[in-house]
Amino acid sequence: MTWLTLLMALPLAGSLAVAALPKTNEKLVKQTALATTLIVMAATIAMALGFQRDNVELQFVEKYSWIPFFGINYALGIDGLALVLILMSTILAPVVVLAGWNESHGGRWSVKTFYILILVLETMMIGVFAATDVFLFYVIFEAMLIPVYFLIGGYGTGERSAAAVKFLIYSLFGGLLMLASIIALYVMSGAQGGHTFDLAALSSLEMSSTTQDLLFLGFFIAFAIKAPLWPLHTWLPDAAESATPGTSVLLLGVLDKVGTFGMIRYCLTLFPEASKTFTPMILVLAVISIIYGAILAIGQRDLKRLIAFTSISHFGFITMGIFAMTSQGHSGATLYMFNHAFSTAALFLVGGWMISRRGSSTIADFGGLQRITPVMAWMFFLAGMSSLALPGLSSFVSEFLVLVGTFTRYPAHAVIATCGIVLAALYILIPVQKALHGPTTPGNENLSDLNLREKIAIAPVIAIIVVLGFYPSPLLKVINPAASHVIAQLGFNDPVPTNGSK
């Protein structure tokens, strides 16, 4: 079975098809892109149906020699974690294409180029989660930057090129640190029975604790930049502010997940000891991110920046869940990655529609949209509710799991983090009040409500948010085995109830 390669090939083929189309026929280009993403989504779901939930081994494994000289393989394989993230990516892709139907028009280059980039990016998004060869992972991890860079710099607004450069330099810097670590791993593997980049083989390397710590940092900093963790976050608000909504969705929804995914798949697997060593500091950073991101979100005047900062807070939660080293924390974190993608997608897409209609992303410019564009207002409100983790919506489940999971081992961190939910109420309700409530302010009187296409685009997102809120078990059943496997690998057990007798 070569499911994964197929999944990666489809969007690539799509991009070639798009490239073959005439520049002038933008409609056809868009339709082709949409069709491709839909097919990919269908294929992914088909593959997911064949996934054995309780099998903690990698599945759909593929392995072909790529650069034997360095012992590099084109090796793919997924566990529950990867599957969930790939599902997330491939479901988001068509949504983004459909939702951002017209956002490619303001760009420096043709609509065609936009969709070529998007489709190429989708291929890489699948590959980065499916790779089981560290080198392959790194290659995609870095190569991904380029399409995003052009998407931001070419189709964004405002200081787009500056933001794109900042994003790229930041990520490249992290990537190069990771490269140094990878080189070290490679050399060590050579010293211990043959050069290889196979994840499993590398995870059983012998190395001194100092080495392990250093290499861990190499990886972790790269991921901490991606997943923006305080204080490495400053690129995100700029990027999100300048990028088109669709790009932002892919950026925050999928690309940044590579960071948190990498923490689990690479930091924890390759450097178990170092992970334990650094857990205390990382947890502190995570908690800071949660509170800091929330407070800065409250302080933002620009809608897109605000959403970006909420995400920084959310990534804090995810990181905390990962390093809490409990099955609840881990499953919660993974589920959180999935849910965050959709609540942020909803926020960005609806927010993007509001902004494109109003021609401004300054919150203060909006007012009383509730009365003018009820549907849009409701969608934004719902997205906001999901972002502040309202019980009954998907993100509540994941957030609560993370908190409970953390509390059982690190009560203090969990307690401080929980204060984040009050701040969340503020950073959502303040823009909701300013933009949707109150009297309709000048400039908003004749904004149009969502059209059919936009409704169709946002419907699945909202549906996922609501349904997973009440019935997350299907996903959890996929995630749990993988999560508890990682925990077990690290030699952790969930804390047993203390009955407070300590």
Partner: protein, 629 residues
């Protein structure tokens, strides 16, 4: 526990209503309100049916449960979407759906002129569903869902007219302050899971016995925090007054009869924790005592009829909380007062609504007066509610409130005396401000503007008022007749036998009535003799001013939380820009600078290049020299 299959419909029906009305949109404008009312009513009848089933079973057999599906399950953290209906929850189910339905009916007419009536009914149904989930959930986490669900509904309904910015702000305030409470609830859940490994009511109850007092106390205090948020108790009471921004039926249903009593439910539901955590229990009592005085004092100064009622709600819930804090003996009475209060306060709010309705949305009681003639029915129903809240026998309040006062006295020692006197004093003040409202609204001379033409509300509005009035008259007697409610609930609370009586019941009732009489008397002297001026006098004692400003609660919050918070925010925003991002940009600039400086080496003169090579050579030789030595 017996399992039932029909519990879910209690919630499903109104939830479906909300969903249909919201999704169908304008299409359902014509019939939306009818559907909503019908669903709420049917949910009520389902409740009655469940009650009948329950009555047909023996005490132990009465609780029934229903497991819907596995909700969250990770490692040992397993939460089912499960419901539980027992003697306690059935009381709430009936109260919520019963009063709820009445208010649906009332609103049909009250909101008939509002273009968004359908949306209003959708929210009402949403609220009913969430509130039912709150009282039916079989674990703290399920309760949590309902808990925030009612918070959401309340937010939406307070802000129903959010085109008025003040109203939008009020709704936001309510939501945020509630969230602080919710934080307490989630803490409680986390501690429970960490210490007992379960969060279901039955599980926690079982585990509570062999759990350290410290843990239980922590849980208890956190639950109390949650309760203070939802039930507008001290120190999280500030939102309730502003919440009156919502349409009056909302105030009646959510901010008087049902949602605000959720805190009482939570505490009684968690009796097994509080019984084992005396410290937490003591805190409950203290909070209750403070709030009942707090509310009462605010009530004395309010000219906005709804705000006055809100203050009284706050104070009455203070009574309930206090009652619930008195342990096994108190729980039942707290619930009883909760139920009776549900009737008379809802009734009075609806009355207030009908008055406002008849007075062109005028809410200032100073601009009322002599409405008795114009709105006889409203006057009558409001009057019954008035008598009930005063606790005049045989009206409902008499039974429930006296029980609490009595239990307070009997709680023993100095504590008993203090609590007892506080509750007594509270009763007196209540009598004063309610009488004030009564007089200024219905008696005396008319003070309204000439274009106002008061009229009695249509039957759709007065019918619910009437029914509630009947409740305010009879409910007390019915519930306490032969200790009906106490016995009904007794299986849930383990009672520690009878307390020694500090004061005999008769004495307590006597004292209470005396206090009430004094309160009424003062009010009469102050307001019905001399004419009241339509604008609030400004030359008033400092106490009045403070009371008018809700005892400075908002000022306090502003000074202590809001301003510093805003300051912190702006500072952090600047820091992020200047320092963190500045550092990043600094690195970039440093690199640029280095490059620009090093460029200087490239002077363009070939001789300097040669010199460079020469220097390099010399350096190498020097290095070698070092190596060799």
């Amino acid at each position: 526990m017996m399992s039932s299959h029909s519990l879910v419909y209690l919630i499903a029906l109104p939830l479906a209503g909300a969903a249909i009305l919201l999704l169908a949109g304008r299409r359902s404008d014509k019939w939306g309100h009818l559907l909503a009312t019908g669903l709420s009513a049917s949910s009520f009848f389902l409740g009655l049916y469940q009650l009948s089933l329950m009555l047909s079973r023996s005490n132990e057999q009465r609780p029934v449960g229903q497991k819907l599906f596995e909700w969250i399950s990770v490692g040992t953290f397993n939460i089912d979407a499960g419901l539980m209906l027992d003697q306690l929850s059935i009381c709430f189910v009936l109260l919520i759906t019963g009063v709820g339905t009445l208010i649906h009916i009332y609103s049909i007419s009250y909101m008939s002129h509002d273009p968004d009536r359908r949306r209003f009914f959708a929210f009402l149904n949403l609220f009913i569903a969430a509130m039912l989930l709150l009282v039916l959930g079989d674990s703290y986490l399920n309760l949590y869902v309902g808990w925030e669900g009612v918070g959401l509904a309340s937010y939406l309904l307070i802000g129903f007219w959010n085109q008025k910015l003040a109203y939008a702000t009020a709704s936001k305030k309510a939501f945020v302050m509630n969230r602080i409470g919710d934080m307490g609830l989630s803490f409680a859940i986390m501690i429970a899971f960490a210490t007992m490994g379960t969060v279901s009511f039955t599980g926690v109850k079982a585990a509570a016995e062999h759990t350290s007092t410290a843990a239980l106390t922590a849980i208890g205090i956190m639950l109390l925090l949650a309760a203070t948020g939802k039930s507008a108790q001290f120190p999280l009471q500030a939102w309730l007054g502003d919440a009156m921004a919502g349409p009056t039926p909302v105030s009646a249903l959510i901010h008087a009869a049902t949602m605000v009593t959720a805190g009482v439910y939570l505490i009684t539901r968690s009796n097994f924790i509080f019984d084992a955590a005396p410290t937490a229990q003591l805190l409950v009592v203290i909070v209750g005592a403070i709030t009942l005085m707090f509310g009462a004092l605010i009530g004395t100064a309010k000219d906005d009829i709804k705000k006055a009622l809100a203050a009284s709600t706050m104070s009455q819930i203070g009574y309930m909380i206090l009652g619930a804090g008195l342990g096994p003996v108190g729980y039942a009475f707290a619930i009883m007062h909760l139920l009776t209060h549900g009737f008379f306060k809802a009734g009075m709010f609806l009355g207030a609504g009908s008055v406002i309705h008849g007075m062109n949305d005028e809410v200032n009681i100073r601009k009322y007066g002599a409405l008795r003639k114009f709105m006889p029915i409203t006057f009558a129903t409001f009057g019954f509610g008035y008598l009930a809240i005063l606790g005049v026998p045989p009206f409902a309040g008499f039974y429930s409130k006296d029980m609490i006062i009595e239990t307070a006295f009997n709680s023993g020692g100095i504590k008993g005396i203090i609590l007892g006197s506080v509750t007594l004093l509270g009763a007196g003040i209540t009598a004063f401000y309610m009488t004030r409202v009564m007089i200024l609204t219905f008696t005396g001379t008319s003070r309204w503007d000439e274009e106002v033409h008061p009229y009695e509300s249509p039957w759709l509005m007065w019918l619910p008022m009437a029914i509630l009035a009947v409740g305010s008259v009879t409910s007390g007697y019915l519930l306490s007749h032969g200790n009906a409610l106490v016995n009904w609930l007794s299986p849930l609370f383990e009672s520690h036998g009878e307390h020694d009586e500090f004061l005999p019941p008769m004495v307590v009732s006597g004292l209470a009535l005396a206090m009430v009489a004094i309160g009424v008397a003062i009010a009469f002297l102050k307001y019905s003799r001399s004419d009241v001026d339509a604008v609030a006098p400004s030359d008033v004692s400092i106490f009045t001013t403070i009371a008018r400003q809700d005892l400075m609660q908002d000022r306090f919050n502003e000074a202590v939380f809001m301003r510093p918070g805003q300051l912190l925010t702006s500072v952090l925003v600047k820091t992020d820009e200047a320092i963190i991002d500045g550092a990043v940009r600094g690195v970039g600039r440093a690199a640029m600078g280095t490059g620009a400086t090093l460029r200087g080496v490239q002077s363009g003169f070939v001789r300097s290049y040669a010199a460079l090579i020469l220097i390099g050579a010399v350096a190498l030789i020097a290095a070698i020299w070092v190596v060799v030595q």
